[in-house]
């Protein structure tokens, strides 16, 4: 059954579940602390001067995370902590992207904004196999087969011979 292959469908909240909690229990249900884009920019820009935060951001950019995704994460964190609304978060995101571009340029790191057109094709089985060959890595499937061979076979339980047990054909 293909529908059971998607666990997210079964883990989804029940309709109306969000209304069962106490109103105002979460920070994002409170009035936001920063109500304008200017205030949000004033809050976020000094973050790029802190070494710990900047090094974390740069390492993620170096790892290939798109700047739009990073800005999304940062602003979502702000929404979660009740700093600003989602609207202000979206409006301030381009400013954060631009700051990250500046930081990445200064550090000499290549980056992707996330607005670039996607390449057709993507990763195929052939490209994955070629990449594995280049990196001299063995595919994981071989290891699994070895493990399966090493595992002892489970002994079959003898069927119970009670009066109500089903007869084997």
């Amino acid at each position: 059954m293909p529908i059971l292959d998607k666990p997210d469908l079964l883990d989804a909240p029940i309709p109306g579940q969000a209304l069962t909690g106490e109103p105002g229990a979460y920070p994002w249900e409170q009035p936001p602390q920063l109500t304008t884009v200017d205030e949000a920019v004033e809050h976020y820009i000094p973050m790029f001067n802190e070494e710990e935060i900047l090094s974390g951001v740069l390492s993620h950019i170096e790892g290939g995370v798109a700047l739009a995704t990073m800005a999304d994460l940062i602003t979502k964190g702000g929404v979660m902590t009740g700093l600003h609304s989602i609207d202000v978060g979206i409006m301030v995101a381009p400013v954060l992207i631009e700051m990250m571009i500046t930081s990445a340029d200064a550090a000499g790191i290549e980056y992707t904004i996330g607005t670039e057109p996607k390449k057709k094709g993507g990763s195929t089985k052939v490209s994955i196999a070629a990449a594995l060959r280049e990196s001299d890595m063995e595919p994981m499937i071989e290891d699994e087969t070895v493990l399966e061979e090493e595992l002892p076979e489970e002994e079959m339980e003898e069927p119970s011979m009670g009066m109500m047990s089903r007869r084997s054909v």
């Binding site: 920019v41 739009a68 979206i90 409006m91 995101a93």
Partner: protein, 58 residues
């Protein structure tokens, strides 16, 4: 939310690139007779333009 951010950034980027470089300075205060209004002014575009210009001037 990420999709909206991408859309907004693309829009702002194209707006900045298509806009004339030097904006004529406004005279007088906003609200005075004959003075320019703040209609159409987007603070996000101003911030992005400022950061971009300061990066390029390095």
């Amino acid at each position: 939310m990420s999709k909206h951010i991408r859309k907004l950034y693309t829009r702002i980027d194209s707006q900045i690139k298509s806009a004339p470089k030097k904006v004529p300075t406004t005279t007088g205060l906003v609200g005075k007779r004959g003075a320019a209004t703040d209609e159409g002014i987007n603070p996000v575009i101003d911030y992005v333009t400022y950061i971009r210009e300061s990066r390029e001037s390095r």
